[in-house]
Symmetry: C2
Subunit: 342 residues, 2 copies
Amino acid sequence: EEQEMEVDDTKPAKTKRGQKKIGEKTEPEEEPLDSVEPTSKRRRKAPEEKGGDTKKTTNKSSTQYDKIDFSNSSKNAQNREWNIKISCWNVDGIRAWLGKGGLEYIAHEKPNILCLQEIKCSRDKLPEEVTNIPGYHAYWLCSEKEGYAGVGIYTTKLAMNVQYGLQNKELDDEGRIITAEYEQFYLICTYVPNSGRKLVTLDKRMKWNEEFRKHVKTLDEKKPVIICGDMNVSHNEIDLTNPKSNKRNAGFTDEERAGMTELLGDGFVDTFRLLYPDKSGAYTFWSYMFNSRAKNVGWRLDYFIISERLLPSLCDSVIRDQVYGSDHCPISLFLHLTSADK
Amino acid sequence: EEQEMEVDDTKPAKTKRGQKKIGEKTEPEEEPLDSVEPTSKRRRKAPEEKGGDTKKTTNKSSTQYDKIDFSNSSKNAQNREWNIKISCWNVDGIRAWLGKGGLEYIAHEKPNILCLQEIKCSRDKLPEEVTNIPGYHAYWLCSEKEGYAGVGIYTTKLAMNVQYGLQNKELDDEGRIITAEYEQFYLICTYVPNSGRKLVTLDKRMKWNEEFRKHVKTLDEKKPVIICGDMNVSHNEIDLTNPKSNKRNAGFTDEERAGMTELLGDGFVDTFRLLYPDKSGAYTFWSYMFNSRAKNVGWRLDYFIISERLLPSLCDSVIRDQVYGSDHCPISLFLHLTSADK
DNA sequence: CCTAAGATG
DNA sequence: CATCGTAGG
């Protein structure tokens, strides 16, 4: 049974723009820059290759977004363009991210919903600049451990219901999951426990996987589910640069990979891999060490995983690997939702 | 009795400049920029006022030294110019100081001896750049506590003997004093224990003062003594911006001030205050907080204190308040030493 | 290599 | 408001 839902939504939007309904775009339709070749098949062209960008991860410049095309003209199975965009970013410390211009990402991406992981900040230390973003409501779940983990959701439309944690005493003290209920779906924003150096916390991770799966299956019985966040696993060899040498490292153990396989076996889909089954070099995380990002030595750890019955709505699932400000990059999911999804 | 002296002096100077003898200037005499008004009296003109310098403490620029005149034409009581310069700087972390260009200070000041306090670095983590400075030997005493306290001495001429600590078990684990014996004097480089917020370590400080005084008096029976370092006390009201509000704060308690008075009563002289008895606003430390340095809200905590019988040799004692790179600034002592000092 | 907190000053 | 160390990744 669910505990009472709390809503941390104290501030009204300051702008007069008014609230957007989910299913309503946040700005006028843009003409796509690419050719409008119909994408009748699930298979897509690979995302553009990164240029020889030497930008540092600590770059604060507001110009990083000028080169990025945030428009998306991909169609769903019924040849409809997206009408809701959900984005997701492990920010690796929301205060550092703020200092690196993280808010500009929101202004450029303009998602209907943005899920953040690893905010590493207790609720009372969240700067007003991040709690009070015009046009968005926000839900936060912070770790009891200071400066550790923590997740948040920005949303243009209020959720019907918000559930904090998994309702499991052992697993709910670190701020790792918020479940937001909307009319047509449940949205899960999660930061899955890392198994640690030398896999010291693999047991905890396995326990998490178990409870998480239960949670997701329960939700899925009621409404389709959209899971997003840092799943802290690269599912297959194609999902990281060095699969061989990482077989016994956190993020690519058999146990963690099997966890993902099980989840997908319950009727969920890894949207990016569905759309781009052969795309290699597509990562969402690069260690700060060894200049990994410049060399694109990375891992795909961040996912949009959706109930299979949402597939007709799926327009695109993309990795914003040009966006800097964390050791992860953002990802975005584009859906066309209609009343048929209810 | 003294323990065996260790000398941490593994590297020969890399340059071919050769060693300077103490009493030999490290570079050709420069023509002083100021008028050569003879300074027959102990009383001097005040150091120049700081300009409206907005430089940050973290400034790495190598240009900060261009505006500073390191020459000094002050004479001793026999109207002789200096032939030995000793400098002293609480660097507040030698690695951070190195990154802020601290070594450039040495190149510009060119002291015969430079004493450093608060190196905050264990011996094995000292960067080679600071342990291997051409033309200087180095002695180090590091705290057993990582990244805490610690002192060091650079010297162009090898000391005859080097004593590490006070030979007191309770007080010698934090790297707070090196005593170097030269032909004509003992040099003490010290970082006196801070009494702490709410004076939690005032007892330890009092114990230190007691043992330190014994040590100094013992040395003084053999040779004149030059004490330099962060004494962690402002002796009198003139020595800090806010004496009233700091009467019960570390650095200006009656107990600490009395300690300095006692030391001076044993036949030692605070050289700066002797030469500039009325000079106010002369500080060597400014809290990083509240933009204190820009406002010159500071404390005089760093001293050259010498045996009275060295007074005939004293040419000048100056505060390098234009030099940035720490929350303290360097100070320099100019002496003319002759065989009469032996 | 980055984030963060905590201790110290 | 700086310097550290350490934990975490």
